[in-house]
Subunit: 351 residues, 2 copies
């Protein structure tokens, strides 16, 4: 015998039996005033399972009619349904939340255990705003839960990502004991001409790339860091000296996102990490956690991409970045640059 | 004894001995009127090897002075030098060309064999215009050579990519013998309600994803293709029918690049290939070459991204796309959509 429910605004109200048969046994819906209230996603799923019937203005709605109606009532209803069904079918108990769903840990359920995950549901087509994401992370952090991003692609496949703030630190202590050396900015890179300084910078700090024996090429962020820390002075082709302001100004004309890249670079270096270009991976940096000299260098640990505080993620690009990081056994980190630099870990998750 | 050369504009003129010592033995430069002419990259390399001296207005230039001067004379001189040095040191004979360098096959040299590769040199920072790339491909194709893109990153590492036009074809012959069926466009996806048609489309054409038993969700490009081929009719929530123009108009309002995606999809399908969403890989499509039914489906062969005829590649994104494709053993293909759809293969290359 199916239970009978009435569609009322955005909820379905199920007769009294529902509490016993749907909530107490399987944690569907929320008991209220002697009835059971279901969300539209719960309703569609129970309709598909043939556990309920749904009535609206005296007429019974079949699955097609109900689904079409629900889709006009709730924004992104199809996404909610797809994710809800997926989670339930994999044995999770799910309740609505501010982000989309609260999900209970395996073996847990409402009334017994607290929820473990807050799931934020979105489509690959919807751009994700960094300020929104940070707000969700904060909310979920305060509740001591984990934030999961469920992205539904155009063919309705779901990919789950865990998102959290993280602290990065490494073992590299920079001791560059050398007198200040002069390097030249040529077009878009800097060349250190002194062979002793070139070797010291490369071997003890993994700065730059030897162009040949004795000459070192530095990237713009590396040069700027060494200028700021007083290791180098940098001149133009005409031998005019560049201070921090004029160098970073010139660098920003070469790369428009130079300053956010530099802020992330500086924070990484100051945390004992060694950032090198991540160009081959399509990110700003690949980052080494352990560094005790150029000879013992092994694989890098993180791919770090610096973004402005109001960045808008294309989920297609985010997906590609995380996928690539995983395929080379690294962690994908976004460095959100504002007054301070925050690191956000985004990783694929198998719920 | 070093040979003596004079800097004259953008070339270095080496005394007569040079022909014997530099050209006849190692194919540096080009003999002309009893002297040998060197490009600035060749000159810098031979100066570094201490095989020549370079004089300018009666003054001898050391490596630093010459390099700084060359960098002010020739745009992207550092890039040219880095790539030239790399190729020579790996045993290739190299001559200048319209794209940058002509490179001779291993064992070959000027006068004995034709050049094999035309190398186009660029920096990760310089956006690459698709019309320029297509022009280079055509030029190099006409000369029956192979086009190589040498991209120098900010730390002067070089990545080589081979770029060529390619033809794609597959084994899927679509035979969808069913009467026309009605499907609904809800928000940003289409649902087929008839269970027989749902199964036929999914099992024999790998269209859509089953939402549950009997209901199939189709992506916008899939729906548009099935609408255009007369398999489906598509209605809105209010049961109003959408024809090809109104459906593709609605789809373009959901995804701004819908039409170029659709043109690529159509060409792939009509070539016997099966395109499915490539969202997890950050591209428009993953594409199956062999398809004889849903049960025998294995891994996809290509990642295809559709781009407008005047697309501007960010080399960072191109690098990430190719790297990701390789890491999952697929080929990265760009579909350049204009009057016709051309497929461009871009793959990492170990020269």
């Amino acid at each position: 015998m199916r239970l009978s429910g009435k569609l009322n605004g955005n909820i379905i109200i199920i007769e009294k039996h529902g509490i016993e048969e749907l909530y107490n046994t399987s944690f569907y819906g929320r008991p209220r005033d002697g009835t059971l209230e279901l969300s539209l996603a719960e309703g569609a799923y129970l309709l598909y399972l043939e556990k309920i019937t749904v009535w609206f203005e005296g007429e019974e709605l079949d699955f097609k009619l109900f689904f079409t109606k629900a889709s006009s009532l709730v924004k992104n209803f199809e996404l909610l349904y797809i994710v809800y069904k997926d989670l339930r079918e994999r044995g999770y108990y799910v309740q609505p939340s501010v982000t989309g769903f609260r999900v209970y840990p395996r073996g847990g359920h409402p009334g017994k255990t607290p929820a473990e995950f807050f799931v934020l549901i979105t489509s690959e087509r919807i751009p994700l705003l960094l300020p929104d994401l940070k707000m969700h992370i904060e909310t979920v952090d305060n509740l001591k839960k984990r934030l999961v991003l469920a992205i539904v692609d155009e063919e309705s496949d779901i990919t789950f990502y865990e998102v959290k703030k993280t602290v990065l630190s490494g073992t590299c202590e920079l001791k560059l004991d050398c007198s200040i050396s002069r390097a030249s900015l040529l077009e878009d890179r800097v060349i250190v001409w002194d062979s002793q300084v070139s070797n010291l910078l490369h071997n003890h700090g993994f700065f730059g790339k030897p162009m040949d024996e004795g000459h070192l090429q530095l990237s713009l962020v590396e040069s700027c860091y060494l200028l700021d820390t007083g290791v180098l002075e940098i001149v133009k082709r005409d031998n005019k000296r560049l201070d921090f302001e004029s160098f970073s100004g010139a660098a920003s004309r070469i790369e428009s996102d130079f300053m956010i890249k530099y802020r992330a670079y500086e924070k990484l270096r100051n945390s004992g990490l060694v950032p090198k270009t991540g160009f081959k991976f399509g990110t700003h940096f690949r980052v080494y956690r352990k560094f005790e000299g150029i000879s013992g260098i092994s694989h890098s640990d993180y791919l770090v991409h610096a973004v402005q505080h109001d960045h808008i993620f294309s989920l297609q690009q985010l997906s590609r970045a995380v996928r690539l990081a995983n395929s080379v056994r690294k962690e994908m980190i976004y460095a959100a640059v504002d007054q301070q630099v925050d690191f956000l870990f985004i990783g694929r998750m198998r719920l």
